[in-house]
């Protein structure tokens, strides 16, 4: 049974996140740990100074909202026979505590609303990069609308990070790993070589984890799956780190571009 941490900033958990958890639980039982924070942007918390205790405002209205969301969470778990635990906070929360929670979890699930900035509807690239950097377990971002996963697309550039991610995905979500899986060579500046997709080692490894895999040697632009240009229902995208995604600058989270999500959950494991 894997421990899945689900984070909410106090405004509600997206039904899509609940739906994804339900599907995961149907494949492999999960222990769902709810982390409920008062109204403070989750990502803001992650990106602040790690050593300062955060004094977050928490008035009666916020408290009521938190209680409501906690009840919603409990009811969801009971209705779907999902084991759960709760972590709530009444106004003070320190970043190290949050990081410790990801240390002791197998997977962190966040709804895309936590990454959205303004009215544009795109994911904040920097927030995503910060989240991945600070989380000590793999992260999956769930869009507000998506179809049940039937296909995996692995953004692959031959790096250690990309291989690490594909291994972790298969350990944590073996029920989804048996779906049709496409290894797509990504066209980015850190890709060692598209030819790496032909490596015998890759085939030796993936055949044991992804029984229905296909390798696309031609370098493609994985972002097309986010922009909607190549929108296939039921797709999950797996990447080694934000750097595996084309357009994200290696080593500099500030330059990570915003990306638009069109219905594909994104699994990222940082190496």
């Amino acid at each position: 049974m894997i421990k899945v941490l689900i984070a909410s900033e106090g405004t509600g958990i997206s039904p899509a996140v609940f739906e994804f958890v339900k599907q995961m639980n149907a494949q492999t039982p999960v222990l769902l740990a709810g982390l409920f924070l008062p109204e403070s942007h989750f990502i803001d918390l992650l990106t602040r100074n790690a050593y300062l205790a955060q004094a977050l405002p928490c008035d009666k209205k916020m408290h009521r909202e938190l209680v409501e969301i906690v009840y919603e969470f409990i009811n969801f778990c009971k209705d779907n026979n999902i084991c759960y635990s709760l972590y709530s906070d009444s106004g003070r929360f320190e970043l190290p505590e949050l990081q410790y929670e990801t240390r002791y979890a197998d997977l962190l699930i966040v709804g895309e609303e936590l990454l959205k900035t303004g009215a544009a509807g795109s994911w904040c690239g920097r927030c995503l990069a910060d989240l991945i950097r600070d989380s000590e377990c793999p992260v999956i971002v769930i869009p507000q609308t998506f179809t049940a996963p039937t296909k995996n697309i692995i953004a692959f550039d031959g790096t250690a990070a990309a291989v690490y991610a594909l291994k972790q995905f298969s350990y944590l979500l073996p029920g989804f790993a048996v779906n049709e899986t496409l290894f797509m060579a990504v066209d980015n500046h850190i890709a060692e070589s598209a030819a790496v997709l032909n490596e015998k080692q890759l085939a030796e490894l993936v055949k044991s984890h992804y029984p229905c895999y296909r390798i696309e040697v031609e370098a493609g632009n994985i972002l097309k799956y986010f922009s909607g240009e190549m929108n296939e229902a039921g797709t999950v995208i797996i990447a080694g780190s934000y750097r595996t995604l084309p357009g994200f600058s290696a080593g500099c989270a500030n330059l990570a571009p915003d990306i638009q999500c069109q219905g594909a959950p994104l699994f990222i494991a940082s190496y």
């Binding site: 421990k3 635990s85 929670e101 002791y104 000590e136 944590l172 080692q201 890759l202 984890h209």
Partner: protein, 278 residues
């Protein structure tokens, strides 16, 4: 099914480590890839000195070393033994030979493997007396998957000991162990931490994580000033256990590997050690 890499010196097959690799491959329904480090000068060797006459006698049958007098022939014989044992235990296997200095290629192999099993004697031919030899040390520091160092055959595992210090590295090792070796789920688990704290750090969180994988979990704080020494004392009293540790080069393990007046502490441990880094 997972992919396990078994690393050995082609001239001196580490049969104890191979036995551990086979035990794990069988239980994890994994395939085994033998990575044999060959001596580049093998072809020039006229005779083989110091060949163990009975390296794998009890698990592979009596070895036929008569007539295999050159290093090249011994290497070929060891590869044959590896294949034979895998076949006998119904484990799917492949073999790759690498020059003794081709560590870079071996590390790429580790990227595409789930787990490495190596013997404590995994060393290039000219480093057989050193522990840890450069080869093993490099894998422990740079491998891109967890490494199991095995010094004896695995007959029976009674408990799994998690050497825990609350670090990201220690918890990462615990998680990877649970993913890769799930068949130990019915064993007794001991989470041990060395220090002057009243209870293990973040006990509630680690307990919640472990309960998903194991049913019998115990926690123990060992008081003392020297973590490596205290941990060693704790471990040496236990038989039939599997040790799980965080990163090589930090905390306990770097101290366990330090040369002491007698021998590095870890060399004295007979239990298999699972090591990974975050």
């Amino acid at each position: 099914m997972k992919k396990i890499l078994f690393i050995t010196n082609a001239c001196s097959l580490d049969c104890d480590a191979l036995d551990v690799a086979c035990y794990i491959a069988t239980n994890a329904k994994a395939s085994l890839k033998g990575l044999f480090f060959e001596d580049a000068d093998a072809a020039r060797d006229a005779a083989l000195s110091g060949l163990d006459p009975d390296p794998c006698g009890d698990i592979l049958g009596e070895p036929d070393t008569i007539g295999f007098e050159t290093t090249t022939e011994t290497q070929a014989l060891n590869i044959q033994r590896f294949r034979k044992l895998c076949e006998k235990r119904h484990i799917s296997c492949t073999v790759r030979c690498l020059g003794k200095d081709n560590i870079a290629e071996a590390l790429i192999e580790s990227r595409f493997a789930d787990l490495i099993v190596a013997g404590e004697r995994t060393a290039a031919p000219d480093e057989q007396d050193h522990f840890p030899a450069t080869l093993l040390k490099t894998f422990l520091q740079k491998a891109e998957c967890p490494v199991i160092v095995a010094s004896e055959r695995m007959t029976y595992i009674e408990e799994v000991v998690f050497a825990y210090d609350g670090s990201a590295s220690a918890v990462f090792a615990i998680r990877q162990f649970a993913y890769l070796l799930p068949f130990f789920d019915s064993k007794r688990i001991i989470v041990v931490q060395v220090g002057d704290m009243p209870a293990v750090s973040y006990k509630q969180q680690i307990s919640e994580l472990l309960k998903g994988y194991y049913s019998q979990i115990g926690y123990e704080v060992v008081h003392g000033e020297d973590p490596a020494f205290e941990l060693f004392n704790f471990l040496k009293r236990r038989d039939h256990c599997f040790i799980v540790m965080g990163a090589y080069g930090r905390a306990y393990l770097s101290q366990l590997f330090k040369d002491s007046t007698a021998a590095p502490l870890i060399q004295l441990l007979k239990q298999p050690v699972f090591i990974t880094h975050f």
